[in-house]
Amino acid sequence: MASYDQTEDQQTGYSLFGSKGGVSSRPALEWSEGGDGYSLRIFGDWQVRHVRRIANEIKKLKCGTADAGPKDLIVDMAGLSGLDTAGAMLILDMNELLKSKGFAPKIINAREADQILFELISRHPRERDDVDVKSSMLLNLVRDLGETVLSIGRDIIEITAMIGQVTLSLLGLVIRPWRLRFTSLVHHLEHAGLKAVSIISLICFLIGAVIMQQSVEQLRAYSAEYFSIDMLGILALREVGVLLTSIMIAGRSGAAFTAEIGSMKMREEVDAMRALGIDPVETLIVPRVLALVIALPLLTFIGNIMCLAGGAFIAYQVMNIDLQSFIERLNDGVDIRHFYVGLIKTPFVALIIGIVGTLEGMRVQGSAESLGTHVRASVVKSIFLVIILDAAFAMALTAMGI
């Protein structure tokens, strides 16, 4: 049972992982100038793992320049104990270097396997295609800025276009309801909607409790803790329920849509659909967007309830207000219009998350890096647009006095 250090390779005579005897031989060069000419002796393992040492040896070579005419130089490979393509390449490079210094190198004592290796390497012209990567930082900054502005412009156009396409498909569904991919819709309703209920409930409950607690703390100074219920009701129903739900769904489903469609694009599945005459918008995008438009208002409703429940819990703990009184106060202090205001935003939010998510998915190119970039962009863009939408609604509705 031989250890691989000592196994010998019968083909080339060199050992498998190092020199005979299990000790790696350091690569070395020995230059000698004699009366009968110059000679260079090569020793050791000229293999890829010793390349650094080999390069040093070649650099250290003090051979001077031949003065008159090409001087004959014998390159003796008898002392070589191991050779691979890297080593052979460096030997050939060394010969070229010696030729440029005015020598005429001639290799002797090369084994047959080595000769075949030299021939194999010389057979291939060694062209290179180097790319110059010099550019100034300031120029890069300006270029990045420009590209960002252009890409925002592109985004606006493409999102609008996609809204148009989805709307067309939906209108088509009104006329031809049998073209709806019902199973797909239900699948996404389950994953984007039903499976999100627990996490939405939990975070809304906690935030409701936090808001309630903070309001009580602050209003206590004015002996107005009781009005914290009003504050929670209005905040939760108008803003917090919607925002929390949308951000959670953007992270959960928006990212998932991008990743799903992106992987399909990477594997040419979307192209296969087109080749079979199947419209990807109708098959992939519409069910997802529609599922969100149905699910998000429902999830927001649940979120609102849980937010208020969190507040009720704290109200009981801190102010000893029981549930009955809490609900009565809510009814008196919080108008129903706040609930409608919150809910009216939800279909638009769903549209944003669905379209941005699927659009970014369709933009994924062939690499894993591209997938990561677009998933990230999908989540960031949808959350950003949702918040802008929220602010716009807030300003508009307040101006209208609603």
Binding site: S3, Y4, F17
Partner: protein
Amino acid sequence: MVALETPRLNPIIEVRHLHKQFGAQVVFEDLNLDVYEGEVLGIVGQSGGGKSVLLRCLNGLERYSAGKISFFGQDTAQMSGKDLRHVEARSGLLFQDGALFSALTVLQNIQVPMREHISLPKNIMDELAYLKLALVGLPANAAHKYPSELSGGMRKRAGLARALALDPKIVFLDEPTAGLDPIGANEFDMLIRDLQRTLGLTVFMVTHDLDSIFAICDRVAVLADKRIVRTGTPSELTKDPGHPWIKSYFCGERGRRAQGTAQTTS
């Protein structure tokens, strides 16, 4: 034409009583195989018969339920982490579609094993990578392309260049010529044969390419009925199949055509 006759010596890899199943489905059981130094071993078998699974088990990418795999006489299951890395640095693996790292260019892909296992000066690393690129038949301008910009055949060649980056002692190839044009497939055969002769490269090749088998395989192992039913040289298997599947594989129309071509070109 069969490659240089190599005297059978110590086996590099010994597989004994290997058993692998996915759930209730048994892929192979009591599988025995030897891979000898310096030989080109072809693995053939039905599609879905477990050839790729066997390849993955040998490379430690799949766990096996029972049996023993030894590299150079040492049981891989008992090897220390350091020894395993030593073995990994000395073996190359070509996946079916190249499995290139999508975020790196072709040149950078080839340099991954170099960076990982040894430290090389940058200019030599580039020179060596360009050499490997040329050896597998890729043009120099492919160096800075990303895998998504390459055709299937070019991806495979780039994968081969990466597998050969450190001049491994044994290289595992999963259907290397599938998808290559006949010129490219022939160049591949010649490259493998040259590397075998010059570096003593051992090749473990899962393949369906009858032309490759007759051109460069020293031995062929047939995976059928959940184990290796026969091993032998391609001509031995043609003359004396001993198993109905082997007969239709080697002696069917394609087999006879491939053999005829191999004989006329040798």
